[in-house]
């Protein structure tokens, strides 16, 4: 492993989230074992990796939705393992998360979706709530869609509304789960530009989980590539593109076969065909 993947080997002044020697098991299967990740403050950090390597699980560890079976997860100076539910909820008020499908509340319109965190956590007068919501909707270009219901939005619009909702409480950390999945090129370009501009204009830290190598190459300051429950490589996207490790090369250049095998483990092909065995 590269030395810059180990947070103990670097200064923590610029680090807002840190996972140290983290292990996580589900149903007896180890998803992570000895994972070390450090997220730099103010940067856009990408978490990449083939499907099933635990990218979303890593997000759920950082947001405290699940607890590590071993190791330490620290976010904004708080040890997640030591936090009770109230402490976790206080921490989450400093975080925003964008789900893959937007996860908008389907019984509320766009305006009320964006106003939702303000109504739940503050006693602001309606006039102020309206101004904040309209400003956030303007930032994502959807002020005119304030009274549409989520069912009337396209996939890209729903994600932009979810982004407006995620930044309405002015969080320190913004987390994106597969923000580019299923978008047309125009919507993809919009989301790409919004993630960068939101990060820089509001002084946030962004964590983007994705397997879109091209988009991450444009967007991210730092990228972590996960494979087999560990960090296979970390660095700038440009550095990752030149990494000679086979698993990194296979992922970055999109090769169908390699360390991540094309074929799922199966019995001998010839024997199975000649024996005409029906898979059990």
């Amino acid at each position: 492993m590269r030395t810059d993947t180990d947070p103990r080997a670097r200064g923590d002044a610029g680090c807002i989230a840190r996972l140290t020697d983290v292990a996580y098991e589900i149903g007896g299967r180890a998803v992570f074992d000895g994972l070390n990740v450090a997220i730099d403050r103010g940067k856009v950090t990408a978490i990449m990796g083939p499907s099933g390597t635990g990218k979303t699980t890593l997000l759920r560890l950082i947001t405290g939705q699940i607890q590590a079976t071993r190791g330490r997860v620290e976010v904004d100076g708080e040890d997640l393992g030591a936090l009770d539910t109230d402490g976790l909820y206080r921490l989450r008020q400093r975080m925003g998360m964008l789900f893959q499908n937007g996860a908008l509340l389907t019984d509320l319109d766009v305006y009320e979706n964006v106003a939702f965190p303000l109504r739940e956590h503050t006693d602001l007068p309606e006039s102020l709530v309206a101004r904040i919501v309209l400003m956030k909707l303007q930032a994502v270009g959807l002020r005119g869609a304030a009274r549409l219901m989520p069912s009337e939005l396209s996939g890209g619009m729903a994600r932009r509304v979810a982004l407006a909702r995620a930044i309405v409480m002015d969080p320190k950390i913004l987390i994106y789960d597969e923000p580019f999945a299923g978008l047309d090129p125009i919507a993809l370009g919009m989301v790409l530009r919004l993630i960068r501009s939101t990060n820089d204009a509001l002084g946030l830290t962004s964590i983007v989980v994705s397997h879109d190598v091209h988009e991450i190459g444009i967007l991210a300051d730092t990228a972590y590539l996960l494979a087999a429950g560990r960090v296979a490589a970390a660095g700038t996207p440009a550095a990752l593109a030149k990494d000679p490790a086979p698993v990194v090369r296979q992922f970055m250049s999109g090769e169908a076969d390699g360390p991540v095998a094309f074929h799922y483990p199966a019995p001998d092909y010839e024997a199975q065909l000649l024996g005409a065995e029906v898979p059990q």
């Binding site: 989450r92 925003g96 998360m97 499908n101 996860a103 509340l105 739940e120």
Partner: protein
């Protein structure tokens, strides 16, 4: 041996599920005072569970009352006491049929709607999104729906009984020719406050049971299309059985 092992396994699963349900209901009760601080949400949910069930409740109540009128008239005619029809219809509805049939219809209409709505919210990450916004979904989503159901049930049972009595009167007095004065005066004489109290206690208990089961099943549904479908079925089956068992227990206590 495997039969005994299966039986033991099923028993353990049932005990585990009962334990989870009890803990969840306790959590609902704990967050209820905070949920009551948002009356608008509760009014909305009472409307969803109550007002939107009105048509089916009134229609069923009317026909149940009409059947009671027909059967009661036929039975009482054999003993020459058809003037007792009013008290028979009213007591059957207020003490038994009103709360029980309303609860069964509530489980089928409002209960399934609650389960599928919460289950789909879970399947589309809406509940996770709330947790990520530091909002407890049990307080924000489940508790108002639970309270709305508990408020709606006695009101629906009262409306069911009222339309049922009207249906009984329609058949008995208008169609079969029972004297109107005797129908209503016998009813007034026979129905006591404790009969009405029994109906209210039962419908409140059924309201708590049906709403808690519907919300629990939705919140714990496997977040897939099949999972939500199964949870919705479980809501109807479990609620119906629980209502009938509770009805026997409450009747035994209250008689």
């Amino acid at each position: 041996m495997s039969f005994v092992a299966n039986l033991a396994g099923s028993g353990r699963q049932l005990a585990e599920k009962w334990g989870r349900f009890t803990l969840f209901t306790a959590r609902l009760v704990v967050v209820t005072p905070r949920a009551l601080g948002r009356p608008r949400l509760i009014v909305d949910q009472t409307h969803n569970s109550g007002a939107l069930s009105l048509v089916i409740i009134m229609l069923s109540g009317l026909f149940v009352g009409m059947v009671l009128g027909l059967q009661g008239f036929d039975l009482l005619r054999r003993f020459g006491s058809t003037e007792q029809l009013g008290s028979g219809v009213a007591l059957s509805l207020l003490r038994e049929l009103g709360p029980v049939v309303t609860a069964l219809l509530f489980a089928g209409r409002a209960g399934t709607a609650l389960t599928s709505e919460i289950g789909l919210m879970s399947a589309t990450d809406q509940l996770s999104a709330m947790e990520m916004m530091a909002v407890d979904p049990v307080r924000r989503v489940c508790a108002p729906r639970f309270i709305g159901g508990v408020i709606a049930m006695p009101l629906l049972a009262a409306i069911f009984s009222m339309t049922g009595i009207f249906g009984g009167q329609l058949v008995g007095v208008t169609m079969m020719g029972v004297d109107s004065g005797q129908f209503w005066s016998q009813m007034r004489g026979a129905v006591e406050m404790r009969d009405i109290t029994e109906g209210i206690v039962k419908s409140l208990a059924f309201g708590v049971a049906c709403s808690a089961i519907a919300v629990y099943e939705g919140y714990h549904a496997v977040p897939t299309a099949e999972g939500v479908g199964r949870a919705t079925t479980r809501t109807v089956v479990t609620s119906s059985v629980v209502v009938l068992v509770l009805d026997y227990m409450l009747t035994a206590v209250l008689l």
